[in-house]
Structures are given as structure tokens and as C-alpha cells.
Amino acid sequence: MDPECSRLLPALCAVLADPRQPVADDTCLEKLLDWFTAVTEAGSSLLLLQENPCLVELLFHVLKSQDLSSRILSFSLRLAGIFAAQENCFQYLQGELLPMLFGEVGPLGGAAWTAPAVRSGWIQGLRTLAQHPSALHFLAACGAVDTIFSLQGDPSLFVASAAGQLLVHILDLAMRGPAEGRRSLQACDWPACAQKIVGHIEDSLCSTAIPQVTQALSVLTTAFGHCHGLWTQGLWVRLSPLVARLLEKDPVPASHSLVDLLLSVARSAPSSDRGLWETLAQTLSHLSPTQAGPLALGILKLQDCPQVLRTQAFGILLQPLACVLEAAAQAPGPPGLLEGAAGDSMTVDTLLSSKSACVGLLCCALAHLGLLQPLPQRPSPWPQAPLLGAAVTILRLCSGSAAPTSDVGGRLCAILVGCGRVQRAALDFLGALSQGTGPQELVTQVFSVLLEYLVSPESSSMVLKKAFQATLRWLLSSPKTPGCCDLDPHTQLFLTELLPVLQKRLCSPCWEVRDSGLEFLTQMTRHWGGQAGFRQALLASEVPELTKQLLRDPESYVRASAVTATGQLSSWGLCASPECPGAQQESLLVELLHILSTDSEGFPRRAVMQVFTEWLRDGHADVAEDAERFVAGVLQAASRDLDWEVRAQGLELALVFLEQLLGQRGSHCPYAEALPETAPPGVLAQALQVLCRVQLFEFAFRALFDCDRPVAQKSCDLLLFLRAKAAPCGGPQEAGDSPNVASVEATLQRWQAGEQGQPLGYLEPGAVVALLRSVDLEGLRDTLAESSDHVEKSPQSLLQDMLAAVGVLGENEADCY
């Protein structure tokens, strides 16, 4: 422990033990515990207590004091747990203190126990303490396990959940250890503590009270999820008959927890356990369609699992969609989702029972199938075509464009029409299905329903966003015409219908819609900017012009997206009309520069910097024409910006420029020496001249002392890179002693002190090299590597703050934002 902290500790303990001194900030005690955890992890707890007797005194004092706050009591219990986690320190405290803190005589029997914070502290203290065999004896001796049993039903969720976890921890601790390998699967020769816990779980599983069954199931779920000892197999052998018996009840109690447990066991059990598979199959058939969905998904995600069970599980997920398909069928068509099995009556009942049940079941089925789709272990063959059909049908039912003739179809239509939740889920699912192929006729239907949603005035902004996302995924996955790099005719046709819709959406009164439209356009252009068909269709539309107009949108998010979109369009030459390309491009550059220097908000300015950096990196024609002038202009604007992210992006652009002049930076491989190679002297001299002309150094040196750490960090990296390139060779004549360098150094010192008013003035390349040598860049880099509040966050600062807060609390307490 830091000597300064050690010095402050007695005073702090005295404050904590004084009931008249409320603790300053509710985070302080938590942070104090974090610190003690770190200290004890790094060294001996026993030594810590011996060197700082005030800590043990504090714990004794807490026990004696009657009117301490529950927060301090909870803190003390947790603190004692941290110390006692080391066995020798446990022995040291065991005699008197620990039984008094955690036993019947302690807070457990007092009025303080009514505070959930104290019960939580008691559990957390024991959880931390229970790390060694001695702790097990202690728990048994003080009767803690029975208290934990009762805390499982605590009115506080946090306490109840922590109690369950602590039981698992104790069980694991009891079962692990040197005897583990020799321990038989028969529970009769398990340690007494473990037997007691398992006995309690057995009783709970047989209970008629559902909360108790739930508690037992969740303890077991945690055990199978977190403990990987051999003993868990024995536990399952012993308890599985009781779990299976739950399935005989109607309705199945605590079904959600039961599903969690079975999946947890299935993930940890060897694949040869036939009994387990039978239980899973039985559970699938006993649960309602809504309850069975998560179990079915879990089974299908398992690596090894019998095919029969997988088929059963997949059937459950498909069932709701199969019902929808069947209900909406106009005439007997191709085989549905589930061969032979018409819509299961229970599923149909659920779908039609109420709107919320129908929406819930469909959303779950769609989400589960969407999650399954990209997985390698998804069922094979994957019924891509019927699933596509189902997604399209659901979307049509929701939009009201389907006209089912059956009774069930009609009722489904009435339930689903206009339902945003199902629309969103179905669009997400449809997007996920774009990863597979489908018959052309169905793909055409997909595009048609997507277009319907994009056009519909009924579509909410979130539905439109999802429709755009799904459309993008389908467009990007559409097949290329063999032997041709252009778009296939269907896609081409779709584009001509899509662009007028996009055009309309870009004029939406809702900023969310305009923004989603622009994001869609940017992505589409990024992928297809080079495709003749896309270019032709886009240029024939008013989309590029509208996008440009959105640079002046009242909403800053939209302006930023418009900047990104026009930047992307321009990169592919799609901003210009074919007649006079130069003039249009020039005006865009000017317009973006104007946004950079005048927009009152950060997002558009940041977007401009990103576009400019991309343009410079990719050699955009207008930038390449006079890169020097471009960089000078941009850096000048960025250096004045109030938003530090713009300034940081300015440094990124400067770095790209540097790399273009001097060559790439070294490898970023952490195992390789990252120093860049030096540049040849001729190139370097020339480059430095250019850098001086664009005033890059003024920008970089100013940024080096920026009040925002990432800017300073980036600048430091840039200058280090430059120094490594320039330093070893003589380069231009160094001018270390010239008056110019001396005055610049003086200015830099003032900047470092926070006075940044004075400009640096024009720098000669020689002076730059000299400066690069004289500034302690490595030192700065190390300082900047620490978070900007590391001093305030230090333990010493915490102790000082807690001490300083004593007495001034009355005035400032309990205020908030």
C-alpha cells in the first residue's frame, strides 16, 4: 500500500466508524472496496491488517455500534470477506470477528437485517470469503447455509439472486479439491455441506410452491453453466428424475427456468446422455408453442444432438410460420414449411387467441429463425423458399395487401394489419434470409413487398429504416449476370422503381426517414458506385441533387449523413452532371469546406473531415489536382474547430498526407519493431518544405498541448512518426541554435502552460527537425497514455476526498443534476 494511503487510513476508519458522519458519495464505499480488492490481490491481507490495525478496529467498532448506517455495515461485511479470502488472514480473523459478523450474534439477528443492503453485504462478504476449505467449516459452524436458503426467497431480486449464486459457489467449493477425482457419482459420499445443499434443492424441486421450484431450477442452471467438475454429472444423475417429474404436471411449473436449466445441462453434458435427450423431447412436446421456442432454438444451437430431436425442435420454430402460410394460401400450392403436418392446432389456437399472443409468438419465431439462419449448425436442408414465402406473407398480412380466403387467414389479417412490432421483426428476418438464394419468382416477391413498405405512407420511421436495411441486404446479395460485371436485369429493373421512392423519402418531414434514406444511399453507392447500370439509374434520378440539398437540412444528423453520401457519390463521379463535371465537383469541395468552417454543430463537421480524409487517401481527382492547397485549407479550418473530434480527424488527414509524402508507417504488428523506415534525404527536404507551407507543424504542435487528450495523443504519434522519418539522416541543415528555433521553443512552452494565443509563425524545415529533437515526445506520450482523470481516480485521491467531505456534507448532500 502506498505510504500516503497508509497514513490517511486511520483517519478514514475513524470517520467510517462515526455514525454522526454520513458518507459523502454513495460510490465512495464501492470504490474503496475496489481498492482493497486490488491491494489484497497484489499482496498479503494478513500483512495489510497487521500494518494497518485500524482496519480490524473498524470492523470491531462496527459490531459494537448500534446506530451505524446500513451502508457502513454492508461495507464492513464485504470488507471482512475480502480480507478473509486468504486462508491465513481468515485464521487470523476467525476467532472472534468473523463469527460475530456473519453468525447469529451479528447483524443477522439484529434490526439492521431488514435493510436489503445489509443482507446483500452479508452474502457478498461470504461469497468473497469462501475460497478455501477452512471457509467451508466456518459456514457449517455458523449455520450460514440455512440462512442462504431462506435468502433465496428474499423480497429483493438482487439479494435472492446473489443467494442462489452463493449456494452454487459453496457447492462447487465443497465438491472440488483433491478428493474430486476419487469422489463417486453417488451423492452419499459427498461432503456434508454439499449433501445439505443438494437435499435442499431436491426438496424445492418437489415443492408445490412455484417460487421454490424456480429457485431450485435457477441454482441448478448456474451450477451447470459455471461449474465444470465431474461432480455435476453425478448431480444430474441424482436430480434428473425430479426434474422430469415436473413435466408431468399441467401446466409445467416455472417453464422458463426449466428451459434454462435443460439447455444449461445440454451444453455441459456429454452427447451420449440418452435420458437428457428424451427429457428435452418430452419438454418440447409439453410446453406451449411460446414457451417451447427458446428451448427449440437452444437445442438447434447445440453442437451434438440427435437428429430426431433437432427435427422436432425445428418443427416448433417453423410451426407458427407454417400456420400463417397455410392460412393465407389462396389455392393448394407447393409443399409448405412442414411436410404433411398442417398447422398444429395448439399453435393455431395461440395465434388466434388474442392479439398479444399472436404478435408475441410470431415475433419470437421470426427472431429465433433469424438467429439460426447464419449459424453453421442450422438445420439442413434449410427451407429457404417457404421461409421467404412466409416472411413475405406476414409482411403482406401486416400491410393489409394480402387477401386470405380462409377463416383463419382472415382473422390473422385482422390481428396483424398495421402491427409495427411484427413488421419490424419480419423485415429483420427477411434481411437475414438474403444470405441464401431463392427461386426468382419469390425473390421478385421479396423486392415487391420491400418496395411496398418503402412506398407506403403507413410505414413508421423504424419500419422504414428496417425496410431500407433489408433492401440493401437483398440488393447486395443479388446474383451477378454470369460473365458480366454489371447488375442482373431484375435488380436493374428494381432500381428504376426504387430510386423514385428513395427520392420521395429524402423529402420526408421526418428526420429519421431522411437520415435512413441517406445511409442507404451511401451504402449502395459504396458497393455499386462502379456498376454502369447503377450509375445510369442514379444519374437519371434526382437523388444526387436532393442529397446535395440535404447538406443544408435543419437537422444536424441529416446534414452529417448528407455530407457522407455526397462524399461517396463524388468519389464515384456521381455528383456531377455529364456536361460540366469540373464545375460541380469544385462547388462540392467548396461547399464541404464551407460546412467545415461554419456549421454550428459537430456531426456535419466531423463527417466532412472523414470525407476529406477518404478523398485524400483515395486520390480523389479534385484533391489530387492541388493536394497542397487542399490540405492547407482543411487544416486551417480544423485547427480552429471547437469540437476536438474534428481536430483529431484533422490530424488523421495530416497523417495520410505525411504518408503520401514520406511513405507508409511501419507495421502495426505488436511483435515487430514499429519504427518507420527513414526517408531519403532529397524526398525528406522536399516534403518538409511542403509541410511547412501547409502549416502542418503549427497545427500539430498546437494540438500537442490540446486540452483534449486524444488530440494531443494523435499529434504526439504523428510527430514521433515524422521524427523517425527525418531524424537519423542529416536531412536539411538543422538550425538548432538559430533565433527562430529559440523563439519557437519559447512559444511552445507558453502553449504547454495553457497560453495558446500567440501563433507560431512560419517555420523553416531546419527548425522543425531541431524542434522535433528538442521536444520530449516520448515523455509526453507516456503522460498522455494515462486517462485524463487518473490523478482524481487514484486511491489517495479517494481517501482525501472522503476525509475532506466530512463536515461539509450538510450543504451539498442529495443534490443532483
Binding site: 438482487f158 471547437l642 451539498n812
Partner: protein, 599 residues
Amino acid sequence: MPEIRVTPLGAGQDVGRSCILVSIAGKNVMLDCGMHMGFSDDRRFPDFSYITRSGRLTDFLDCVIISHFHLDHCGALPYFSEMVGYDGPIYMTQPTQAICPILLEDYRKIAVDKKGEANFFTSQMIKDCMKKVVAVHLHQTVQVDDELEIKAYYAGHVLGAAMFQIKVGSESVVYTGDYNMTPDRHLGAAWIDKCRPNLLITESTYATTIRDSKRCRERDFLKKVHETVERGGKVLIPVFALGRAQELCILLETFWERMDLKAPIYFSTGLTEKANHYYKLFIPWTNQKIRKTFVQRNMFEFKHIKAFDRAFADSPGPMVVFATPGMLHAGQSLQIFRKWAGNEKNMVIMPGYCVQGTVGHKILSGQRKLEMEGRQVLEVKMQVEYMSFSAHADAKGIMQLVGQAEPENVLLVHGEAKKMEFLKQKIEQEFRVSCYMPANGETVTLPTSPSIPVGISLGLLKREMAQGLLPDAKKPRLLHGTLIMKDSNFRLVSSEQALKELGLAEHQLRFTCRVHLHDTRKEQETAVRVYSHLKSVLKDHCVQHLPDGSVTVESILIQAAAHSEDPGTKVLLVSWTYQDEELGSYLTSLLKKGLPQAS
């Protein structure tokens, strides 16, 4: 039994991060999704694992409601929606929707970029989250789905702050968020109608305080600023971009105007321009005075307050600077503080609360020698002042709101346990309603009586009218009928109509009773004796002796039979319908007394 369940994940007996789960008539709603600025790890967010355990979030939660833009109420929202995976609707007022991203962005920059914290949301996530927001207007009933509806009421506190009523059928909960019952410089007082919710969830920050007039605090503030400027000093006011900053700006602007002061006032960040823009845009949300004068002059178009440039900090002479962030965490406010701290002529005014681990917290607790980077020590000679301008209802205001809404139960959040205890007792005594104060993680369950709408057939009502009693709205009256459920609707109809509608035949239900009589005569003679006796006793009733030997009185049938074992005893079999239940009972008791001896 239907019930309302409330579980705070945050703001339960603390003033940390508000996040309250409410289950009402099967619908689950999250009220606020706040962040604790005092932590820099996952503890800053509410522990959402307690919700994710119940399955997919979007399926479990029907909606999220955000009361106002302060980070302790909305700071975890992008994390919840973009990282934990909630994809459903989020409701807030329009000003909150506009201002929320500014503050989230402000904090993201401090957290991620300046402190280098990982696992924090990005700008894109903030935007994507805001796209899920559905803006609500005051007093507009918004239908979340077919059953769940919400309605916003004005809460004062900050621009756009709202209280929300959540209603499913006849059950309702009101959540206040933070509110202020007294108008201030730029906002009005909170107001709610007499909505009589089953439960009112109210903040209780100042549960035991009766706050002094805000005017006093304002005067004090202006005096201190004025004195410092007069003696040539500089005043630094660290603020968050939005909220208190605007209130103090109006205060200084009017004071400068009145006193004709010349010292410059600066606002340090571009963010505030946007903030002021929103205050102008949402004029209807401000108080009456601002709204009235708006036509002549917009209060938010400041004449004396100019944008700040970094170079100004070094300029000589007095000035007042508003700089972000508000707790002197980092950035510009901290940079200016470092420059000015050494001069005793200067002053820093902290207008709000500072969490531990910030320079603001240190100087407020009186520390005057601050360790800076590289073991440097900064000596704070400038004056340090704390002035709370937070706009919460005090104890009086809370009681006023409870009186206004007339809830059946009250639940306190967003306050300290000890103070809540006091207020709880006061509410229970004064309003005779139950008051709860759950800790975080504790669930309060309130049983509610379900109200099921039932339609009454016109025929039934007409029949009641025909009985001559005119309906009286103030007096409840008993009405007999048959309750039928058809197509998920309940209707009360006459039994004849029920039979007809349901296609059922009526069953006769008869009560029977055996009465033993000592009589050695034959059955027929016993029947005659019974007839004669009843005829003489029941003068107003129709008593008949039927040819088959049985006796009837109205619907009551009496037959005499021989006793199987005892020839000296006769058994009278009496049966009657439920319409004549009274008469039937009377007759049996009469017959049990025996027949009069033949004269």
C-alpha cells in the same frame, strides 16, 4: 387477482440512476433508463440482466418511457437499446428527444475519448437509439398498443421534462420523473389533473426540505458574480451544456442589462448554441413570462453573452465564463480553472452536484491543494462557491402533487432512505393512502380490483323501469339479470333473452323436503287433512287439492306417502321452485309442527 408490480433497478432509496420497471395488467414498462456518473465501469448502468433473464428484451418490454434529458434518467438508453438489444419503442417529449443526444454525446466524449473507457456507446449508436424514439405531446393520449396508453403532463424541472400516466384498461400508474412545483426563470410549474391513479410514483429528492425562495439564491448568485467582476476578477461557472446553463444565462443577461455592466460574458462551447436553439424552438415549453415576451424579444437571444475562444482565457480584466463540463472533469472548464485558480480575485461557482473523482468534488469539499499530473500541485486561491439551482419539488410541493392527483397508493423513488421514511409517514397520515419506498431490486406488489365493462340489454332496463322505480344517478340499485359472455364481451340480459341467445332450454329446479307426520290414517285422508289445514291458514294463497290426491299451494306441491317401515307414520313430500322459496320454507316449518286434531 390482478396486480401492479414495481421494481426499481435504480433510484430505489437512492439518487443515482433512475430505472423503474412497472408491470400493469400484463404490460411491462421501463420508466427512465439512467446512468450513474460516479462510476466508470458497468456499475454506471442499471443491472439489466434481471430483465434479460425473462427472455428477449423486445418481447418482454412493451415500451420505455424517458421523463427528461438528464443523464441520470436517460444516460443508459443507447447502451440498453444498441448494446443490450432492446428494439422496441421509446417514448419521450419532443424537447427531450432533441436535447438527449446532445448530452449523451457530451458525456460519451468525456467517457470514451478523454478517459479512454471501453464498452461505451458510439455516436452512431446514439443516433440509432434516437431513431427508435416516438415523440409525444403534452396531454396527448398515445396508444402504445391496443391496450396500453400513455399521456404526458408538464413537470417543470428542465425543458421538456414530463410526468407520465400509464394506463391499461381502468388501471393506471403515474410516474413523475423529476418535477418542480414552483415556476422558475424559464420554466413553469408542474401540473397534473385529478387522474386518481392506482399508484403515483414520485421523486423525493427534497423529501424533508422546505426550500427557501429561489429568488434569494438568485440574488446571492448575482451579488457574488457582481462583486467579483467589480474587483476585476474572473468568474468561472462550470455547467453541462443544457439546463442550468440557460437559466443562469437569462439571470445574468437581465442583470447585466439592468446594471449596464460592461464585463464580457462568454459561453465556452459550440454545443450551447444548439442548446439555445432548442430553447428558442420549444418556447411553448417555457414559462408564461417568456412565452408572453417572446413576440417582442426572445429571452434566449442573448445580447451580452458571446461565444468563447480559447485565447480569451488569457485576456486581462474581468469576465464571466460558462464552460463545460459541469463537474470540472476534464476539457475546457478544467483548463480554465487551472489558469485562474491561483488568483484570489477570481471565483468559481459550482451550480450543481459533483461526483467523487472530479476536481469539482474536491474543491467543494474544501480541498485547496490539488495534485495534478506529474506530481504538480495546484494551489486554489480563487473563491469557491456552491449554489444549488436544481429544480426539484420540495416536501410541500410533493404533498401538493399527491393532493392534486389523488392516487390510491404512493411510491417514493429518487431520494435518500431516511428522508423518504419521514415523507412516507407524512403522506400516509395526511392522505390516508399506503406509501411504499422499495430499495433497488425490491418489488412492491399492489393488488388492484379489475374493472370489467358490462353492457346491459335495453329490454332488461325497460323491464326495471316498468316496475315503476325511476333511476337515480346517485343511488346504486340492485338489478337482476343473466351475465353472458359472447365474442369476448360481457352483457347483462334477462334470463329469457339469455336462453334465446344461447339456444338453451330452461331447467326447472325444485327444492324438496320430507316431513314426517304421525298419522295412522290412509295417505288420501292425510292429504285431505293437509289441504284443509293449509286452506284455513293460507287465506291469501291459492290452495288446491288435485284429483291425484296431491295438494298445491302456488308452485308448491305436497304429496302424502306411507312410511315403508312404520305404518303409523306418513311422509309428506314437499317440493317448490326457487321463486317460491320463502313460501316453501314457511310451509315446511308449518307442516313440521303437525296437523290440528280433527274436530
